[in-house]
Structures are given as structure tokens and as C-alpha cells.
Symmetry: C2
Subunit: 366 residues, 2 copies
DNA sequence: ATGAAAGCGCTAACAG
DNA sequence: CTGTTAGCGCTTTCAT
């Protein structure tokens, strides 16, 4: 069970120095500044280190001393199973991970989803040994955000919330994108539109967890900036076309389960059977809705127009009419903002471009 | 730009104690052991902390003192874009993240893919402030593994390599699973089989990065235990049926790109046009192969049987004949092994169950 | 090129 | 309940 020279006590830089009868500085230099000592001495240090089973300078102690953790934290407020099943969220994480890899930084996932109590989540945020935080799509009143800010570390917010003091933000123009998409739908001739969206607030005033008709008050004051802007974008287009924005049928879904879109579609159509276009604020919702419509014998786009948002691969391959947003790039930019902060030291707002994708799921109303 | 009482220097536990004229212990207790001081004193501590902008005990300093980092490291040796596009790998990460969340631990992604030099990757491994490592499916001669081991931290290996001294392992019986699948294919009557697999070694002796015919030497000595076992499983079944295992046409693919399976199928069929069954060691390969075959006008399963491995959702929904493995559970178990190490202190081997899924992509040869 | 001294910010005994 | 004493393991001036 014990290798040759495994000492009872873990070897440290100091013990190694003692063993070698050199100063700790020298050992430290052997690892961190090879040019500060002779090559042979360095070799001697490294070889006895190996012999003693010294793993090299302890990362935590080094972090304490240098005040650098070598990692950025990603605060994930959604339930993990959601984050890991939504392609757009994953693309974001992939982009962030990529930029961290390039910068030689670690990426620490800090999950503070609803599965944990707020105090447990708080502990996780406070315990994260990181040099900065990325906050991904949190609600305006997220309870963990103040804790993140309290740590006085650089923070980059992605998508939402806006107006976090001191934080840079990477986002898209949700309102304009959704307005443009809606204009397209209206041009096709649709007048009765259903909107399927993620939950409008952290709370959930409906019974059960399934998609439910959102009441107008909630629609007017969503706690998520993104939802708010997207709804506003739809309203803009409706108003512009001389339609009443309040006539929009809005169904909110607590989470994006594989079936959420389908159930949401049912709810919307039951609430307003005259709907001819179903606009979804996420591709996963739209795809699920399409599946459900097909099962009900409703043809898309013949009898129902369906649109999504995100531009995930499956959506594009299935010809969904949607808005493509650069999810990977969001992650990359967020990381870069942390790794190479803007010279000014001021916070930055980066608005990334989106693109309207006219697919095969939209057409004139029946 | 400056809040009311923002001191030039970051507040620390000591400065807070001085301000309050109490000992550092008391302040520490206010955060870590609320029962060790009066509620009112604690309140006073916390409130002046807020006033001073003290974010609470520094996680790094605490880690140094307590010798606990509060996070586990996940060493990812594949290119990130692969890890984040393979559903099976993602399920694994999701399971691991879930168990970390439940244990109140962070999850530090340490990417040491081929995009970075070995020395950069080494630095990342050595710099990770973690209490243990999960190594996900590394090659037998992975250059970073020794570094991980060198840190004398608990290690859990997933899938491969085997026989890492001191490390626990979570895996499946790849050989038995693949044997069973092959037996099924043979029962259907197939005799000429093509095998599409991930690259057989860290090196890549072929020109270009696309799928290529693997030479027999390489097939006999893969550097990845999993590939090795799966090929062996196929051989077992072939030998059992009185066929020559060396007659197997093996095509290896450097990475799992969306098109890898399709190109691999082309390569295999060109090398041996008599092939009637294409067995793939990953669903993503099989799905891509199916797409390609359809494009070529080859009917599945009428003219070609195709099988996969993993049991990812898309494969199951498309009726792929495959082996389902519990990827999420792998991640969960790996995490648990780290968070609640077996009482014995000895390393453990956990072999999780797999299930043969007879789908609609397999049938008798034409 | 090498060493001595001085902490980084915190917690864990152990006394009082 | 509160304070004193000792470091955790390392890097970094500043001398030599």
C-alpha cells in the first residue's frame, strides 16, 4: 500500500527544501522561475521532489498567496437536468469552456438550482474559489446574485438580468429579434397568435408544474428580462400592425421538459381555438409543439405556423422558422471578458447579432 | 463609483474583528458556528460586515486552513467540442454535476484536450484546487493521468483506463455487451460485418482526420480499454460462431463529428462491399451512418443492418438497435464515490448494467 | 544565483 | 461564550 519513500506526512515545499538543504525560495523558483537557478540545481530539486512524492506547489496555498484562483465560476440557476438538455445552454457552456481552456483557466460549475435550499446555494457561491463569475440567464430577483456581487469579483452576466451594477453583459437584442420574427408571421397573414414561453417569474402561481395560461398581469411584468423583451417585441409588431397586443394568448412553462411545448400548444389552442400561429421562445418548445400537433393531425405549416427561438441544430435540420442566436459565441465572449477585461475597467455591454431563419414551418394561415 | 464605506483595502476577517474589538475567532464563529456566540453579537458582526463590505471568509484561505477545496475536478481529455456534443458524455457530466450539487460541492472542469500543449494541460491539472479527480474515459497512455495521480488525491476513473493504482472505477462490461449485440446480429444471419469505432490510439497514423481503415495491428492493440474490449466482444461472438475474427472490417474515426459515421460507412463498404451489417461503437456514429446510407439509397434494415452503442435519446427514438448504458448513473456514481468514499478506504470497481435494445435497424441480410 | 523574513486570510485547539 | 496561539503551504521583496 505504500510506495518506496512515502513519508507519513505529505511533503511540502518546505520539507523538500530542508531535505535538499536549500531555501524555500529556491525550490519555489525551480517550479515557477526556472531561469532563476542553475539548470542542474533545478534538476536536482525536481528529481528529489519526485522521489519524495512531492506533487509540486499546493494550488490552494499558491492561490492564497498570489490572490489568483485560476478558475472562473459559472453560476447556473436552472435545474441541472434542464441546463444539460437544452442545446442552446450547452452551446453556451461549450463556448465558455473553450475560452477558459484557451486562457488556461478552470471552469467551476456552481449549481444553485431549485434542488437546493437558498442557504445551501449561498454557501456554494461563497465557497467558490474563483477569480470571477459568469451568471447565466438569471431572473431579475435571483437570490444568489447579491451574494455573487458581494464577493467583489469581476462579474459577467449573460442575457439577464440587466443593470447589474459593475457587471458586464453579453446578450442579444431579444426585443428586436422577436419583433422581426413577429412581423414576418404577420406578413404571412396571421392575426391570432399564441405565444409559448418559459416561466415569467421565479414563482409559479399555477397548480402543477405543467404549462399554464399566463394571466395578463404576469405577462406585463415578467421577472426575466429576456421574456419581457421578447413579449415586448411581439407587442411592438402587433401594435405596429394595428392589432391589440393584449389579445395575445400567452402560455408559460415552468421548465423546458421534452413535452412542455406539446402540452403548451394544447393549452394555448384550448384557450383560443382561432390561433393560427404558435410562436415559441425556445426551439425545444417549438419542436415539442410540432410533434404534438402532428400527433393531433394538425399540419404544419398548412394548418398551423410554428416558430422557435435559438437556432439549435435539430431545429435547423427540421426546417423550423426561428431566430438563430450565437450561443457558443456568447460563452466565448463572456469568458474573454473575464480573462481579458476591457482596459477601461468599466463594464461593457456586448450585443451579439441574431438572424431570422425563414424555415418550412411557417406559411399563410389556413 | 464608491459605495459609502468602501475602504481602500479589502476588508478581512481580522480587520472586521479589529473594528468590532473582538477576536478573530469570534468573527469566524459568527460565520461557521453560529451556536458559539450570542445571537446579538453574531448579528452585530454580520451587520458591520455588510457595512464594511466584507464578503465573508475568503474561500481560498479557508481551503488552505481546512484542507478542503469544496470541489471535484473533472479531467476531460477529449476536445471540448466533442464532449459537448456527445449526448452520452453530456449525460455523464449531468449525472456528475447532479451528485456534486447534492453534496454541496463544486465541479471544476479541467480541459486538457489536444487544443492545448501538454505543458499547458499539465499546469491546469496541477493548478486545480480540488479534493479529488474524476477522469473520464482517457487512453491507457494519457499523459495527464500520471499528474493526476501525483497529486495524491482520491481519483475515480470512468470507463478507462483500467488498473489505475489506487483509483476506483465506474464502468460497464463492454466486452459482454458487445458480444451479446454481435450474437444477436449473427443470429439474424449476418456474416460480413463492418465495425465503426472511435480512434484506437492517441496517435493517428492516417492522412487527414477522417475515418480510415484500421490495420490489423492497431485493431489488436488499441490504447483505449473500452475499444479494446468492445472489439474483443465482437471477436468472441464471431469465434463462437465459427467465423474468423480477423475478417472483421474495422474503420476508426479520430473524432465523432456529425459526419464521421457516414464517411466511416463509405470507407467500410468500399473496403468490403459484401458487408451486410455495420456495427458502430457509438450511437452518434450509427445515426450518421444511417443518414449516409439513406442518401445512397441503401435501405435499413432491408439492405443493411446498423447497430449503435450508448442508447442516447435520438437513437432510441429512431429505433436504432443498440446497447443502452446508464451514462447519467455513471456520473452520479463517480461523484458519490468521491463524496462518500467506501468505508474500507480501498478502491472499488463498479460495473453498471447495460441492456440490449433490439430496434428497427436490424434484420436478416438481404 | 541563493537565502531570510514577512505575510496571504483563515480556522482549530486549547484556555479562560 | 470569547480570546490566544499556531500554523495551513506558498510566494515575494529585499539582501547577499
Amino acid at each position: 500500500m505504500s510506495r518506496s519513500p512515502t513519508p507519513r506526512r505529505r511533503a511540502t515545499l518546505a520539507s523538500l527544501a530542508a531535505e535538499l538543504k536549500v531555501s524555500r525560495t529556491t525550490v519555489s523558483n525551480a517550479y515557477n522561475r526556472p531561469d532563476q537557478l542553475s539548470a542542474e540545481l533545478r534538476e536536482r530539486v525536481l528529481s528529489t521532489a519526485k522521489q519524495l512524492g512531492y506533487p509540486g506547489p499546493d494550488p490552494v496555498a499558491r492561490s492564497l498567496r498570489t490572490r489568483k484562483a485560476g478558475a472562473v465560476g459559472l453560476m447556473i440557476t436552472e435545474p441541472l437536468n434542464y441546463s444539460f438538455s437544452d442545446p442552446a445552454a450547452l452551446d453556451f457552456v461549450a463556448g465558455l469552456a473553450e475560452s477558459c481552456e484557451a486562457a488556461g483557466q478552470g471552469l467551476l460549475l456552481v449549481a444553485v438550482g431549485p434542488n437546493r435550499s437558498v442557504s445551501e446555494g449561498s454557501a456554494a457561491v461563497l465557497a467558490a474559489g474563483v477569480d470571477g463569475f459568469v451568471v447565466y440567464s438569471a431572473s431579475d430577483d435571483d437570490p444568489y446574485l447579491p451574494l455573487v456581487l458581494q464577493r467583489h469579483l469581476p462579474v459577467v452576466v449573460v442575457d439577464q438580468p440587466r443593470d447589474v451594477p459593475g457587471a458586464s453583459i453579453v446578450c442579444i437584442d431579444d426585443r428586436a429579434a422577436m419583433r422581426r420574427l413577429t412581423e414576418y408571421v404577420l406578413e404571412l397573414g396571421h392575426r391570432e397568435i399564441g405565444l409559448l414561453t418559459m416561466r415569467l417569474g421565479r414563482d409559479w402561481p399555477h397548480s402543477g408544474r405543467g404549462p399554464a395560461l399566463a394571466d395578463p398581469d404576469r405577462v406585463r411584468n415578467p421577472q426575466f428580462h429576456v421574456q419581457s423583451e421578447r413579449i415586448r417585441g411581439v407587442s411592438d409588431a402587433l401594435a405596429e400592425a394595428g392589432l391589440n397586443p393584449d389579445a395575445l394568448t400567452v402560455v408559460e412553462s415552468y421548465e423546458h421538459l421534452p413535452t412542455s411545448g406539446g402540452v403548451g400548444a394544447d393549452v394555448a389552442l384550448e384557450a383560443n381555438p382561432r390561433i393560427t400561429a404558435l410562436m415559441c421562445t425556445a426551439d425545444v418548445l417549438a419542436l415539442s409543439a410540432m410533434d404534438r400537433l402532428r400527433a393531433r393531425g394538425v399540419y404544419v405549416p398548412g394548418q398551423m405556423t410554428v416558430t422557435g427561438f435559438d437556432g439549435v441544430p435539430e431545429a435547423l435540420s427540421r426546417g423550423l422558422t426561428t431566430v438563430r442566436q450565437p450561443s457558443v459565441e456568447k460563452g466565448r465572449r463572456a469568458g474573454q471578458l473575464l480573462h481579458n477585461p476591457p482596459r477601461s475597467g468599466l463594464s461593457v455591454v456586448e450585443v451579439l447579432d441574431t438572424e431570422l431563419v425563414r424555415g418550412r414551418t411557417s406559411g399563410p394561415p389556413a
